[in-house]
């Protein structure tokens, strides 16, 4: 279980997180929603240790993430970045098998390539993509390669940062379905941040809404439409009028 307790983070005068409390039970899919600039990515990066919170506690299976052995801790995670974050100097298969070619999970090159091709196939890409470079792929294909990389080492926990941003509705649907299938199939714990409501409904078991640096509402995805929370209602209905200021 991932647990965040009273997590604060400020960048200069900008207090992004002002006491975030959140629990993600093992094997469930949590989607964090919220407007742009509300600190969704900061929350995710705090859990991963890419950003250090100013105060508060983040634990993974009751172990403080700041005190855990970094390599062992990160080996449990996979992450799909918003823009894919593929390494343009490496061919696609080496991107996917990056973790399997070095470090504690190192495998023989042929085996790593085989796993990479299998993962590419899993996300709907043909084997001939393996030897291309990321720059030769479309946005949707890059997202799928990023997804293949995130699952290559079969992590227990997978983070998805805006998985459908910049994609057309059909490709968004494909990515959402893939994420759901993979998370269920692997039994992984998932944490997704997005403001795409179709992603929320396709991916989430539970939803948390981040607003003004705190979790405004959290609950099962099925309860979202009858939450009675004015912030959440305004957000999911996409209304300009309501407690959330349209101009921020």
């Amino acid at each position: 279980m991932i647990r965040m307790e009273n997590v604060h983070k400020a960048f200069g005068p900008n207090h992004v997180l002002q006491g975030v409390n959140l629990e993600i039970p093992k094997g469930t899919s949590m989607v964090i929603i919220g407007g742009s600039g509300t600190g969704k990515s900061v929350t995710l990066k705090c859990v991963l240790g890419l950003i250090h919170p100013d105060s508060g506690k983040i634990t993974l299976d009751d172990e403080d993430v700041t005190k855990a052995d970094r390599d062992a801790f990160l080996a449990r995670f996979g992450m799909l970045f918003q823009g894919g974050a593929l390494f343009d100097s490496l061919p696609v298969w080496q991107n996917v098998a990056f973790r399997l070619l070095r470090g504690s999970l190192k495998r023989p090159k042929d085996e790593a390539r085989e796993i990479a091709v299998e993962k590419l196939r899993r996300v709907g890409l043909k084997a001939d993509v393996a030897d291309k470079f990321p720059g030769e792929l479309s946005g949707g294909m890059q997202k799928r390669v990023g997804l293949a990389r995130a699952i290559a080492a079969e992590p227990e926990i997978i983070f998805f940062d805006e998985p459908t941003t910049g994609l057309d509705p059909i490709m968004s649907g494909v990515i959402n379905d893939l994420i759901r299938e993979i998370v269920v199939e692997m039994g992984a714990t998932a944490m997704t941040i997005t403001h795409d409501m179709s992603s929320v409904r396709a991916i989430a078991d539970n939803v948390a809404m981040l607003h003004d640096g705190v979790i405004q509402w959290t609950g099962p995805v099925g309860d979202m439409d009858q939450s009675g929370d004015p912030y959440l209602e305004q957000f999911i209905q996409g209304r300009a009028e309501g407690p959330i200021e349209a101009v921020r």
């Binding site: 890419l50 996979g78 990056f98 504690s104």
Partner: protein, 261 residues
């Protein structure tokens, strides 16, 4: 009175900022050398860096040294003529190239070619979250990106300096023999006999120091770049400026050290 206080305050602020930057840079350099020494190592990344910093810089270094050696020969011949000292031109070209111009010019060319490319590449990786991706893939960016580049520069730049020294001397030789009527055998004999081992050692030590400075600046500004295209541009510009100034300052210090030995 308020003008004086304002001036002193801004002077103090500048000093503090400068010291803070120096502290950050020193910490960065310390971390880099720690990562160079400690495993895991990334031989493939080192090999790529060796090729990009060393092999690919040979043409620009060679051409720079060749033209500089030729121009130096002409200048010394013309200047020496005023004192009837044209005959010592081979020795002065040799010592000028080996002790001073070879290392400095190679250092500055490396700053222009390598520092800028390292800074732009790493800054772009930072902007596109590739550095964060490395961390999530259990790979330390300092170890994977910075250590191989700095080690490659430490190894290859002295070699480039040696090549630049030889080509520079040959540039002077060509001009002397073709245009100024020097005897080729005498020219080479005078050059070889005049140079001492300490001249060559100082040249190579300077090369190693300049290589470390150039690569370190590229990595430091790349890793600390701001957001977007502007951040990448600023990191690239600052890295080249800092590398060039530090190379010239280090040259002054190292020359002083070698003179005192």
């Amino acid at each position: 009175m308020s003008y004086i206080l304002g001036f002193l305050a801004s002077l103090g602020r500048l000093t503090l900022n400068g010291l803070a930057a120096l502290g950050r840079l020193t910490t960065f350099a310390g971390q880099t050398f720690m990562h160079i020494l400690r495993p895991p190592y990334y031989p493939r990344e080192l090999l790529i860096a060796l090729l990009q910093i060393g092999w690919m810089s040979l043409p620009v270094v060679g051409l720079t040294a060749l033209f500089t050696g030729g121009a130096l020969a002409l200048q010394i011949y013309a200047g020496g003529g005023r004192f009837n000292a044209e005959a010592v031109m081979p020795q002065i070209v040799a010592i000028g190239m080996v002790r001073e111009l070879g290392p400095v010019l190679v250092g500055l060319m490396i700053a222009a070619r390598v520092t800028s490319s390292i800074a732009a590449e790493i800054a772009t990786m930072k902007v596109t979250e590739q550095i964060d991706a490395l961390v999530t893939l259990s790979t330390h960016p300092m170890k994977y990106l910075v250590a191989p580049r700095v080690l490659a520069a430490l190894i290859t730049v002295p070699v480039l300096v040696a090549v630049g020294d030889i080509i520079g001397i040959m540039g002077g030789f060509t001009v002397a023999v073709q245009n100024l009527g020097f005897n080729p055998a005498t020219y080479l004999h005078n050059t070889v006999n005049f140079l001492e081992m300490r001249d060559i050692v100082s040249s190579l030590v300077k090369g190693a120091a300049f290589g470390v400075i150039a690569s370190l600046m590229g990595c430091y500004f790349g890793m600390n770049s701001g957001r977007g295209a502007q951040g990448v541009g600023r990191a690239t510009k600052s890295s080249v400026q800092a590398a060039a100034v530090l190379i010239l300052a280090a040259n002054f210090v190292l020359t002083g050290v070698f003179f005192s030995l």
